[in-house]
């Protein structure tokens, strides 16, 4: 029983952590971030399974996390009011070529980072952007002027 509780507690903590940290961490996966992810995975595994090396223990932990993942997405789908809390909401970063500085600060993003993302979308200048929106998955979508 304890392994199910531990897995649920770790899931809830990681879910809250990912929701609260903001999307900056999701959108910029530098090599260091990938290493951090692996390290966090290792630390979490020890906390969940501890000294249990059994297949049953592993199955229980994975099943608990899988079921909770489904439960979160099902709740998000069925309960519209909870959707912003569970999945987050898009954030407008640029409107009509003008950067919304306050929203950049909120997400700890710099103009340079937004410019980099724009270049990756073959957009040379933020002045050409009608809308730039930070999506819930951490990516920035651009809508160019005149489109």
């Amino acid at each position: 029983m304890d392994i199910v509780i531990r897995a649920a507690v770790i899931f809830a903590f990681l879910f809250a952590l990912m929701r609260m940290l903001g999307r900056r961490e999701l959108s910029s996966m530098e090599p260091f971030d990938i290493i951090l992810l692996v390290v966090i995975g290792d630390l979490v595994q020890q906390g969940v399974t501890q000294s249990d090396y059994s297949v049953t223990g592993a199955l229980l932990a994975v099943s608990t996390i899988a079921l909770l993942t489904v439960l979160v997405s099902w709740t998000s789908l069925r309960v519209r009011k909870l959707r912003p809390v569970l999945a987050g909401e898009p954030i407008v970063l640029i409107e009509d070529g003008e950067v919304v500085e306050r929203n950049l600060r909120r997400q700890r993003l710099t103009v340079e980072e937004v410019e980099q993302e724009a270049r990756l979308e073959q957009i040379g200048s933020l002045g050409e952007v009608r809308w730039a929106i930070l999506e819930t998955n951490g990516q920035i979508s651009f809508v160019e002027k005149g489109r």
Partner: protein
Amino acid sequence: MSDLPQGIDLPRHRDFEGKQAGQWLRHGFLLLLTLFIVAALFNVFGAEPATEEAGAAAATLKVTAPERVRGGLLYQARLQIHANEAIGAPTLAFDKGWIEETTINTVQPEPAETTTDSRHLKIRYPPLPPGRTLNVYIALQANPNDVGSHNADVALYDADEEIASVDRTQVNFP
């Protein structure tokens, strides 16, 4: 017709209207994380050892061990008996908190006799002359399933006669 992308509500997604609570929640969560880490630095979750002492005319007993441990943690307890008078059968009696759901890896020096009753583990050593000090080192490991607060008293006996007792509580974190 507005050229606003579908699904975007400007007051909400640009100006954060009605989302102030979420912002405060986020700051609160980050503050909580900081407090959690600071608390850990101040030994709230163990496992810094604490020293407690109990004395009597015949002997003093000093116990140095962590009062807070986390599941799976390896730790050490050091017990020091200083005999002011001769002790014929120096015996240490450990309360349940020391034994249940805890692995005792080693006890050094090895006791002459080990017994248990419904509540205690008792280890007896050879006679201790006046002025001598006996240091006992115990290597332990907390069972990850054991969570909560336990009595972890230690008493020093001369055979069946109690000389001194240290009242301790050990908290096991998950």
